[in-house]
Amino acid sequence: MAGSPSAMRGWKRARHFVLTPCCSSPERACRIGDTRPMTNAERWQLTRRSLVRSGLVGAACAGLAPLPLLGATPDATLEIAPFIVEPTPRHRYKTLAYNGQVPGPLLRMRAGQATTVEVRNHSTREEVVHWHGLFLPSEIDGAMEEGTPMLAPGETKQYTFRPEPAGFRWYHTHTFAGNDLTVGQFGGLHGFLMIDGPRGSQPAAFDREVFLALHDWGGQMLASDDGSMMPSYDVSTINGKALGFGEPVRVKRGERVMLHLLNSSPTEVHWIALAGHTFHVVALDGNDLPATQQKSVPMLRLAPAERISTIVTMNAPGVWVLGEVRKHVQAAGMGIVVEYEGAGGKPKWIQPEDLAWSYRQFGGSDNSRTVDASDPSEPALPIRLKFSSKFEGHGSPERWTINGKSYPDTEEPMLQQGKRYRLILDNQSHDDHPLHLHRHVFEVRSIDGATGMNGIVKDTVLVPAHSIAEVEFLAQHPGRTLFHCHQQDHMDRGFMMVFRYA
């Protein structure tokens, strides 16, 4: 049931897994069988190494593809069908949803184990499911720009893959919306995807998990302060419900609750606080932070497509609001009640005075480790990408460009497998952009005025307007690889490009 964390926790795990020899390394088997508690350092090394190994393993298994014929019993099924989401009794929106709920069901998979998902398209639109954050072959990653076939109306298809890397991922539609602000990511086609790693590989101990998705509804294009057109929304929700209209998150005193937050908004950045509590951030985009770089912070900022996994120790009994820090957005509904067992009364909100967030606070300086298997002494090959826009009138959204060209005319840089690349993300526009690289992860090396950063591994990063950020990644997953701004209106208007492998 949408809006019910406890219900989501109870989502049935995949029914069966197939482990094929090509993906079962002895080292992994050993790690899975090792029940000795790991130190934080070991967890970090495992996490970073596992990213590499899983990627290499994934590449080795890249032959996996959607099965042309049905017949296998799927481990999970996603049905795409019309749905009416009802954030409040006064706000009802016709949309598409997975399995009749928004957000879609929590899918849990075991890292590296073959899993079959059946997707049935009962809508009247062509659809495709993107498995955001996974190292999948281009043919099933879920982007037509990479070559994934679209799912025709009425069509059913099975996808079998070995999900990697472990961590908090998500799945969502990857279709064009254009001027229709009810479809694509403006709608309800998004859900949580948790890839469980080996037992004991969690970045920190916790008692239970809660999954929360931030979303905005009722979009329309309005003139923004700078004169260009931007989407504006009627209602903002957490797990499909406006504040006061969904089930509360019920907790017990002393519980360590792992909150997995996803910003599935088509275009909006959100700041989230939990009154009376702090967040201990342990992972960004599902990728664990080294123990020394985990931080307790008063609020979180999530750009579209970003995820944050954070532990909240429930040590302030009462009834509280977890919600958007900006007053007008919380007033539009973005919030959920956190209710301690036995507590009552009106939910309490403590209004922060300012917005506080920077990637810098999670950056480490230990450069002895790299995010990938490449030789750290070998300099990464630079690829400079300049982002700007072309004005097309105050009554029309801008056309976005990468190095002066809009998709599909953007460049297609050629990558060599095994090489490490440094993307120099030069945002010359007036907007912040959440930039997402498909089928890979990258390490943020400089952003928000800080350089030489280590340890922040992500698949989406928000690059502020008029600034330059640098990220590095290892080219280890051959195939067409999409890179784009995750704002639906930006990608629809040209902010995409494809990397190819030699």
């Binding site: 302060d225 820090v325 900006r326 005075e353 097309e392 009138g393 105050h394 009554g395 029309s396």
Partner: protein, 269 residues
């Protein structure tokens, strides 16, 4: 040239920090503006100076009303946003003319509401009503009321607005006239992100039930440019020509506006 110098002087005065802006009745030439449907945001004060100079206008004293020729009109418009769909505007009209000096002309008040964004209407729609007084030496009708529907639409680089205004005299010679129809319209094109240019049309056809003859109607066409240099600033400059004998023949106009937010604002607001 004098008109330009006068306009320039006015703009410089405003830029120097004087509190000065403008409002709109073409025939009055105190505020020459086609309204857009948007309203001023809450906790925001819009300060505008409307500077209009009649280069070639009425040269005779008629029924005790000063001639408009070579009159320099400075109007201060203060508009405060009330909600995200309403505002209230207040006007101070002044006139400067050789032989008469700087004179207070009158004041108006103008509440306005608009269709909220949440209604998702395909065009911007708002409705303003304006009530006020002006001295008889500047307008024979001293107390007037106006109802101004406003519809606008931006399509790509094009901007369209229509203001089919209705006017009523409460005190003065036209008190028995009934509702007069005084439409305004605008079309603009974005040549760049900062420069929009186009035309504005102002008219007064007289009694809504029986329009005046063309000779007695007022009709003006302005060539205008809007400079979008900053979200905080509003700049509009134009030159207008009257097309009938009842209309001033040549007017130069300018609007300089600045939005001021008041109260304590932080990023969380």
């Amino acid at each position: 040239m004098r008109a330009l110098l006068s306009l320039q002087r006015s703009l410089l005065l405003a830029a120097a920090g004087m509190v000065l802006p403008l409002c709109a009745s073409a025939q009055g030439n105190y505020e020459i503006q086609v309204y857009g449907a948007d309203t001023v945001a809450p906790k925001t004060l819009m300060v505008e100076l409307h500077s209009n100079y009649t280069v070639d206008g009425q040269k005779q004293l008629i029924d005790g009303v000063y001639p408009t020729n070579h009159q320099e009109h400075e109007t201060i418009e203060l508009t405060e946003g009330v909600t995200n769909w309403s505002e209230v505007g207040f006007y101070i009209f002044t006139s400067e003319q050789s032989g008469h000096g700087v004179q207070w002309v009158g004041d108006h008040i103008r509440p306005r509401v608009r269709a909220p964004d949440s209604w998702h209407w395909p065009v911007g729609v708002s409705l303003s009503t304006e009530v006020g007084y002006q001295r008889a030496v500047y307008s024979p009708d001293t107390w007037t009321w106006e109802l101004r529907p406003i519809v606008d639409k931006t399509l790509g680089r094009w901007y369209f607005a229509v203001n089919p205004a209705l006017e009523r005299t409460w005190h003065g010679p036209d008190v028995k006239q009934g509702l007069a129809f005084a439409p305004g319209a605008k079309i603009g094109y974005d040549f760049t992100k900062k420069i929009n240019a186009g035309f504005e049309y102002y008219a007064d056809y007289g009694d809504l039930r029986r329009f005046d003859g063309l000779h007695d109607q007022q009709q003006q066409l302005f060539v205008v440019t809007d400079l979008n240099v900053s979200p905080a600033w509003e700049i509009n400059i134009g030159v207008g020509m009257g097309g009938t004998s009842a209309t001033d023949h040549l007017i130069v106009k300018g609007i300089l506006g600045r939005r001021f937010q008041w109260g304590h604002h932080t990023a969380v607001d």
